[in-house]
Symmetry: C2
Subunit: 174 residues, 2 copies
Amino acid sequence: MKRRRIIVYVATSADGFIARKDGRVDWLDRPHPKGSYGMGEFFKSVDVVLLGAKTYGEAVTRGGGFGQKMKYYVFTHHPPATPVKGVEFVNEPVKDFAARLRGQPGKDIWIMGGAGLIASFVDAGEVDDFIVHVIPTFIGEGIPLIAPAERTLPVTLKGTKQYEDGVVRLHYAT
Amino acid sequence: MKRRRIIVYVATSADGFIARKDGRVDWLDRPHPKGSYGMGEFFKSVDVVLLGAKTYGEAVTRGGGFGQKMKYYVFTHHPPATPVKGVEFVNEPVKDFAARLRGQPGKDIWIMGGAGLIASFVDAGEVDDFIVHVIPTFIGEGIPLIAPAERTLPVTLKGTKQYEDGVVRLHYAT
């Protein structure tokens, strides 16, 4: 059985932020070049999406749908009283959750964010890949990719790709 | 006369920090590949180095020399009582300073850092290029490239270069 990889797949500003301090991502609102940075290919390679509670809340607010092609897991200490179709609310240590998921056959696993969830998976040693799309806009301050704490995580560059609109994809493996 | 470009030329962690919170850059201490990321070429293209007071202080503490090939300007409100050979202490609005320097013939101008000085030049609209070497190590928290404030600075990607040790150079122009 192929090992399921757990992948942080996100966009950051040129200065490394995933959102402004208040969560706004206005600088992400730009026309996509043909091929949309290979997002279609990536989406086909995963069948599980992991979200933190806040990122989930923002997706719901924006009217984001939770389609049937993917299984969504939302990490939260406060699951809603009413079940949500296609979404499972998780309150389990990251290590146990990752072992359980990796033990089931399936495609790769996408950590959508936010910074807190990414940090939890990083600190549990459960992130295999970082695929970061660097948008050519500096925003000056914001929410960093990984919730702040001193770390030293050397990674291996697997590749870079430069898109016509100035977006750069950096692919690292841990 | 060729316009002198003002260039932020720095290394950041994979998560966009120029130093740890306390200023340490231990994650930069790594063997350089042959060619040292083209640093020699870059150094030949500049003849002026701009430093903030803190970056200057750290350079002095580390025993950094201020060679004769470059002219060093240190931005500080508290110039030392004794002159330092090869170093000029500046306490002048960035706009005026930049206009004065650009009005003199010479090579390009290197802003070495830190984040506060970079921010001052960014906010004055006086940065022409960002040449960022992204080190393949996440450090989790630290001093961002530009001292924090909300900004929206779209830039043009001029090129990327991938080095054998996983360092990536991102070159942006404003």
